[in-house]
């Protein structure tokens, strides 16, 4: 029985005798041990207030865990998970992987942004030895964002600081209720802070998106706009007196809210905004901060691996850039995503790919131009996209079945320990797999 069915069955048993509504949590006493605490590796919020209860070696009840983290825990025993390899099969797979990568250099090492820090470092070392690029899935958005940060200057803040101070919160083409469910309640909107003691009542929430989003009902101002109207909106917000050619019913209210705020927090998904929008947002932030009367911080909200920040830190340390190790395929000219992937495909001879994300649609986003290359895949799950000649090595789930150092969206490190109750079924850790490939391939 998969863990999700086990847990749902437990809940149904609990609720059968109760026609008055939800059963009290205390009524559930059918667990082996006391509660454990964990840091959830589901997204870059890295919620550290999660408790879980154990029965028969499985997690049967969690407290404070959102649906993103819940799905992560359920994937531990999901039916479409690849079985753990036997020692001989694992040795054979590692040998095949090393052989493929050694004989098809340069190798693109792609997608280490959901691993622990030590595994990320191992992927970097491997990429160096195999003479290829080393990139996260969101490398294009990362590069565009951090190039602007370097050019304009970047005012950022800890999430706890945003909770304590932010009076205006704007989500620009980012919806935390899609990707980081507890973001609003832990930091950006509902949480009460030192100078926002009434929580959401002390804050003005606004959002910009191409279509209606889950966050829309909570917003006081919501701008449903195509991407090419972003710059006009930013101009109207930054220069209200001179705003011409942009009209929206919520614009005056947002202008008033920003003017009345001493602290503005802007969250955006850099992969969903254009270059002009990024330029305009950073310029606006610089203008506001230079005026000295209020603070405006920009924080990225990546719909990417939960340790994208850890990847950036390792990359900064090794390359002096946070978006990975570029290969000669890149230049400073602005190019479309298809062209960038195409140039990469012309440069590399094979791919070591590490899918991130939980949903099947997110697990293999390899572009078509790279799919005919020999590839080694480190992936715990079965996928329709796996080909017969792929070398697929299933591993323990990082942060759930193995320990790792993860970094929250604002850079705070969290040591994420594996969930004690989840039985190790013989999966190798990503660190061990990479170390073995490194030994054999180099």
């Amino acid at each position: 029985m998969s863990i999700e069915k086990f847990i749902r069955a437990s809940m149904e048993d609990e609720e059968q005798g109760d026609t008055q509504g939800s059963a009290p949590a205390e009524a559930f006493t059918d667990f082996d041990t006391e509660h454990h605490s964990m840091v959830c590796p589901g997204c870059s919020c890295l919620c550290d207030d999660i408790s879980y209860y154990v029965k028969e070696g499985q997690v049967v009840r969690t407290l404070n865990l959102c649906e993103v983290g819940w799905k992560r825990i359920c994937t531990v025993s999901e039916e479409d998970r690849l079985p753990p390899p036997s020692p001989s099969l694992l040795a054979e797979s590692l040998h095949s992987a090393a052989s493929v990568l050694r004989s098809h250099r340069p190798v693109l090492v792609l997608g280490a942004d959901s691993l622990g820090e030590s595994a990320i470092r191992a992927t970097y070392e491997l990429a160096m030895e195999l003479e290829g690029p080393w990139l996260p899935w969101a490398f294009m958005g990362l590069r565009r964002f951090f190039e602007r940060a370097e050019r304009f200057g970047w005012a950022t803040a800890l999430l706890d600081h945003v909770r304590d101070h932010a009076e205006s919160v704007i989500f620009w083409r980012a919806d935390p209720l899609e990707t980081h469910h507890r973001h609003l309640s832990r930091y950006s909107f509902f949480a009460r802070g030192r100078f926002t003691e009434r929580g959401n009542l002390d804050r003005n929430l606004a959002a910009v998106a191409s279509e209606k989003t889950v966050i829309e009902p909570l917003c006081k101002q919501f701008f449903q706009l195509p991407v090419d109207r972003d710059v006009a909106l930013i101009g109207a917000l930054a220069h209200p007196q001179g705003a011409e050619g942009f009209d929206h019913r919520d614009l005056p209210a947002l202008v008033r809210a920003i003017q009345g705020s001493s602290y503005v927090a802007l969250f955006l998904d850099p992969e969903k905004v254009g270059d002009e929008t990024l330029d305009a947002l950073f310029e606006w932030s610089v203008k506001v901060n230079n005026e000295g009367r209020k603070r405006m911080v920009i924080l990225p909200l990546w719909a990417a691996g939960s340790n994208i920040e850890g990847f950036c830190r390792v990359s900064l340390e090794k390359n002096a850039t946070p978006w990975g190790k570029d290969f000669r395929a890149f230049s400073n000219t602005v190019r479309s995503a298809d062209r960038v992937w195409g140039d990469l495909a012309e440069t590399v001879k094979s791919v070591l790919v590490i899918p991130s994300g939980i949903e099947p649609s997110h697990r293999d986003r390899l572009p078509g131009c790279l799919r005919d290359k020999p590839r080694v895949v480190i992936d715990p799950f079965k996928q329709a996209q796996h080909r017969n000649d792929d070398v697929v090595i299933p591993t323990a789930l990082p942060g759930l079945e193995s320990d790792g150092m993860f970094f929250r969206a604002d850079g705070i490190p969290f040591e994420v320990r594996g969930v004690e109750a989840i039985t190790q079924q013989g999966y190798p850790t990503v660190d061990d797999v990479l170390a073995n490939i490194m030994t054999e391939a180099c």
């Binding site: 939800s22 207030d49 407290l63 865990l65 959102c66 507890r182 009460r192 909570l218």
Partner: protein, 153 residues
């Protein structure tokens, strides 16, 4: 809860306008929507051929899931475990500093609601302001639920 329409409820009524409830079926649907009447108030729905429709109405209206003390109905299909309800609850804000700051309650904390297995659950309904006759009426959890998973009736 997702916003129901009178027509959605009318679909599952007998649509005979027999008048045994004292009104037409459309009017009865209106009273159902306002929660002034319940599906069991329609005698025709008790007949075998309408049994399935009655069950469906009970499910849509959350009849079997309502907490009688607070009137809370939770739609598990819509709840995403975001914890907004736990945050905005005035009982928590007044009594638990950590919860007010955004953290979830600890395992031993006494709270009205908690997120259990990624879904909101009533833990101590007797502490809810709605269960205390002298307390000001409160609908904070349902008002701020971003997915309309909570309804207070």
């Amino acid at each position: 809860m997702s916003r129901k329409s009178i027509y959605e409820l009318y679909e599952f009524l007998p649509k005979t306008n027999c008048g045994e409830c004292g009104m037409s079926c459309m009017a009865f649907a209106g009273y159902l929507l306002a929660r002034d009447l319940r599906p069991s108030d329609c005698p025709v729905l008790d007949e075998p051929e309408h049994k399935e429709n009655k069950c469906r109405l009970v499910e849509i209206l959350g009849e079997g899931r309502k907490n009688e003390l607070t009137g809370l109905i939770v739609d598990d299909h819509l709840c995403i475990g975001c914890g907004a309800c736990v945050n905005v609850c005035p009982v928590h804000g007044a009594n638990n500093r950590e919860v007010a700051l955004g953290k979830g309650p600890r395992a031993g904390d006494v709270t009205v609601i908690q997120i259990v297995n990624a879904r909101v659950r009533l833990v101590h309904p007797e502490l809810c302001n709605r269960a205390i006759p002298s307390a000001p009426p409160c609908k904070a959890c349902a008002d701020y639920c971003p997915t309309d998973a909570m309804e207070l009736v």
